[in-house]
Symmetry: D2
């Protein structure tokens, strides 16, 4: 790989000359690049993310996943039948954003995805279906519509479908971030999941998913949430409660007509994993969110209802299962038709922990 | 008040002499006290708490509270019909331990205890009955058997009984600590509770008591738990889950046969209030806890079942509603007859936050 | 010890009657005390500390310490020739405030105070003299005029005078707090100090007292400052720098004419020890501080210069070596004649860590 | 940009077929990429950083910087005469590692680099020369050999040379990280530095660079170190002290013969800035460090002395001013000829704050 310097014009740039050319050739030979030719790209006034706003349609994704079910085995080596969103701004890489991976994973009836572990943090979100159990460090966790499930970094995990129906779900990970940072470790586990029982609740939930309670046997802060599954019934109830409080004139909603809950680590009150924030949003019929710009990128998936997502200059009608990506600092507004439920995940904890977060909100509901 | 110096004998002490007497009189005149005469008391090898182990019987307390209901009004000035445990080692002060206040509060049918606020942190625990709502910063909170309810420092609160039955419960506060530290502020609120509605769930629960979820409108750490009531159904389920996990061979219990949950602040994962820890313990039939010594003091109340509490040299048979006090560094063992449920609160967060906590566990279950 | 209930009159109190008397006798028998008779004392509108403002004069203390040098041995058993300030509001206890111990310690030429350790946190401040080394966990630390020296909890320490002159200094500890909290442990070490070398700088300083630098071998937060001695030359320079910055029109001083530095734990930026804050203050000639009330108590010692201290209703002229006590929430104003230097220590970290701190500032410099 | 899927062979991969081709074309059309063809690259067993070990020679860099001084103006638009190291593994980008920027900046006599601010965190390290002042938020900071200087994110800063000699130094920033994360903001300040005074010490040092002391006017934790300059005299003394302690048999050095200090934020004890760690290392003559692998990348510059750096499979003789890069998880060993001093900076705080740090040490000094 060689370095190549392209002079730019404009203020503060040196005048072209043979001597300057010679200097630049000297830089190239020594693997050096001047700031003055690069500063416009490297240090813009505001973020200019390479990722672009984009949407992927559930009714296009799901048939391709089903077809992959016919043609692609799931097992050791390939590990997962997962199909990732490739942001068109990111050079063909399987990255939804520069930090986030989002993929549809698909398991046919009775299939088994082998156990492994990796330092990447992962979650699953189920937009429809049931019948698969994910086994996280030996704890079998049922997956059902509306559930949000965790596989934090370096936890062994596999999946198996105990039903006679196929199942598809959304996988979210910080693969792009880990990859560019050079921090990824990976290890194979058993070729088949280590516990094929299919309990209604995971052991993690039985220990940790009691509101405001923690086991006295575990009282230290943990880097990741110990709750393997956040069940839809709780999420739905929390959102309904916020809207009911609003009806009664009490605070709680994020903005008028817009309820939102964050999935948290009960041992700290913070985000579920160090690099990933996950939330659920519910808009009343006919609600428009304030327009919001944030440092950091996010991926949204419609859970139920229909509406309009405006991301920068793009605008799409979206419905159940559709996904869209909001790059860093691109303004987002969501408008609901009827009641609209959306799942969202983002890389915001990275910026907050590094004191690089910034938010700008404008519009009627600021 | 004058200072008075009493010479002691023993190693390292000066020989008695008229000159020494004269020196000591000089000290007294200048309000000075030597370390060498006091060190044995001030700096013992291990804590020698002034508080002593003691038990108070529910069947003695409740009739006195009922009789106070007949004779003592509840209203502005007296503020609360609360009767405090006075540890026999603490000079007649209404202190269960040097830091903790524990009292039975009693409201007759339709009575109303006026609103006020104070910097002392407070909670209520309900060993039996229902019908009272406590109103915390305007939010009415139902009180029912098994519930644990918070009134953190500087929150306005009042109580009113909407039923035709009297109700008694346990109040726990850090009054002795605040008083000795000189940190207490107090302010009157309305003479009657500000909201007499009687909802099944408080607004705080509707916003915060969903497992692992928090409202996106409130994402900062809070000094106190925002959950006003921890309901018995959740506590009971969490304890039952721990014992079921033990039956299945999985971790979770504190020690064999001994399930325990801590009430926590969901915005931090830490204790509910800065000075008070609260927990619920369940022992299987025929279980003896390990013997445990802790820096800091605690108060226990039997919720249901019977058993034996051994605190230092004292041992009592205890049953429903009975309270007992464990002074600092005095060893505690609890043994159950049948299944035994106990509520516990302590001042441990003070010591943990000041790096002065110490625990020693011995016995079969260490 | 028995409980004794004294009825009070006033609003909200029950009417006297034989039945009420009988009830109160029932309370006493069961070791119970009602809130309604005690609330005025227990829960005042503002702190009513038992400790009172008081001053102790260096020219009265020092001769008594010298005389103790003649009459009282220093060695195992008595441990230290230390003479404590006894606040006249605290019942004759050797307590400067309800949390803080302040004593003059005195060593004759060539004397040796044996090693021990205790959970109480301790420091020394040297208002005059030199020649003593304190040995902290085996590290000999020179003591010289203006130096502030640490002996955090559970660190072994002894003192020895290698000079031909006696030396006196101020000891500050959290003995009263530890004692009332029941958290004190104590252990004897060697009868003579373990290292009698007399280096100019301690090993702790050589590792840690370089501005903004820490050894890569120790990168975790520590509960106590690892710096055993804060030298006068640094304190003096920091104060002089603040006043020079003020002269040049730049921020830095606490208020006009008033420079102040806090001694900190370089591994956290926080206070030197979990229970004790220590600061040095310098007032320009003719400066009056704003009037300040704080929850928590403090002890001040004049290092050099003269001025006036007003503490609540008391006012004293103070000069070199004089000590005075500011109880919780009592307003303090200090006024300088010429330049005035003061050392101060307080229990503020306790309140800050327990979310019970409160400050009110008024006056010209607010 | 289009997506293009390349089938791979190997375990777990689907058999080639026209149907599979059709599926892959469907993926491409919908901007989807399967995990199973990418997993080997995305999720390796250990980090496989794109960056490679490389060294840049001071005696090659400096003449090029001098020549740039002749040909390239410094002023608004180009902003800085800075020449960045371009890691040969990173596609020609001006990045030393995937997160870190390292550049030689050069100012001719009397030149002035205009003020601006950006969210990227920056520092300067001076391997030789003096005469330039950097002005950080209006505070002029002298730059001299051995000094380490901070310009945290969003602080205005400019540089001006008040001497008759040119000056070159090392700039370190997190530009690559900010750029890939989409978190960069930039703003122009005055075209010339706002304060051309040339004090010996900056105001930040006068307030903050006193060991273990902080101004009482600033007692909160700060996200960045408030010390604008860490002076060589302090760094040198701290390193010398560690080696002297080792000579005397006391702990302090990182490993035998290897002293090391970390530059810290005195308000927290943590790293100087959220994304950058900076340290200074000194090896005694003839010392070999243990071999160390770390998640995260670092850049080293020799300050004085000569030795050998072995980074993975590469090994170089290095001397004054030479720079070398250690990519993530590549083992590093440094060996000294005579006494060898090295400056080092890394992105480790990013990994520590995100719970993704990992270290492996092996060799004689583990």
């Amino acid at each position: 790989m060689t370095v190549s310097i392209t002079p730019t014009g404009g203020p503060g740039q040196p005048d072209p000359s043979p001597e300057l050319d010679e200097l630049y050739r000297g830089f190239e030979k020594e693997l050096l690049v001047p700031l003055w030719t690069e500063i416009g790209d490297l240090m813009p006034a505001e973020p200019r993310p390479a990722a672009v706003p984009h949407t992927w349609r559930w009714d296009a994704l799901l048939p391709l996943a089903e077809r992959a079910g016919d043609l692609v085995p799931v097992g050791r080596g390939g590990e997962r039948r997962a199909i990732a969103l490739a942001n068109p701004g990111l050079g063909g890489a399987p990255y939804a954003t520069p930090t986030l991976w989002a993929a549809i994973q698909y398991l046919r009836p009775r299939e088994n995805a082998p156990e492994h572990r990796h330092t990447q943090n992962a979650f699953r979100f189920v937009v429809e279906g049931e019948g698969v159990w994910t086994v996280v460090n030996g704890d079998p966790v049922a997956m059902r519509r509306g559930d949000f499930l965790l596989t934090p970094g370096w936890h062994f995990h596999g999946h198996h479908n105990i039903s006679d129906e196929p199942m598809a779900w959304l996988d979210g990970l910080d693969i792009p971030f880990s990859h560019s940072m050079g921090s990824t470790f990976f290890e194979f586990g058993p070729d088949r999941v280590s516990d094929t029982s299919a309990p209604d609740r995971s052991r993690s939930e039985r220990l940790w998913a009691h509101p405001g309670l923690r086991p006295v046997s575990h009282t230290e802060p943990l880097p990741n949430s110990p709750i393997a599954a956040y069940r839809w019934e709780h999420t739905d109830a929390a959102l309904a409660d916020q809207l009911a409080l609003e009806d009664e004139g009490h605070p709680g909603v994020l903005e008028p007509g817009h309820a939102a809950v964050r999935f948290t680590n009960p041992s700290t009150g913070g985000d579920v994993m160090p690099t990933i924030r996950a939330e659920f949003h519910r808009l009343r019929a006919g609600t428009a969110t304030a327009t919001r710009r944030e440092v950091g990128s996010s991926v949204w998936q419609v859970f139920q209802g229909t509406g309009t997502a405006r991301v920068g200059e793009r605008e799409w009608r979206v419905g159940r299962g559709d996904l869209f990506v909001v790059p860093s600092w691109v303004p987002l507004t969501v408008t609901s038709d009827g009641e609209l439920d959306l799942f969202r995940f983002s890389d915001t904890p990275i910026f907050e922990r590094l004191n690089a977060d910034r938010v700008h909100v404008e519009g009627p509901h600021q």
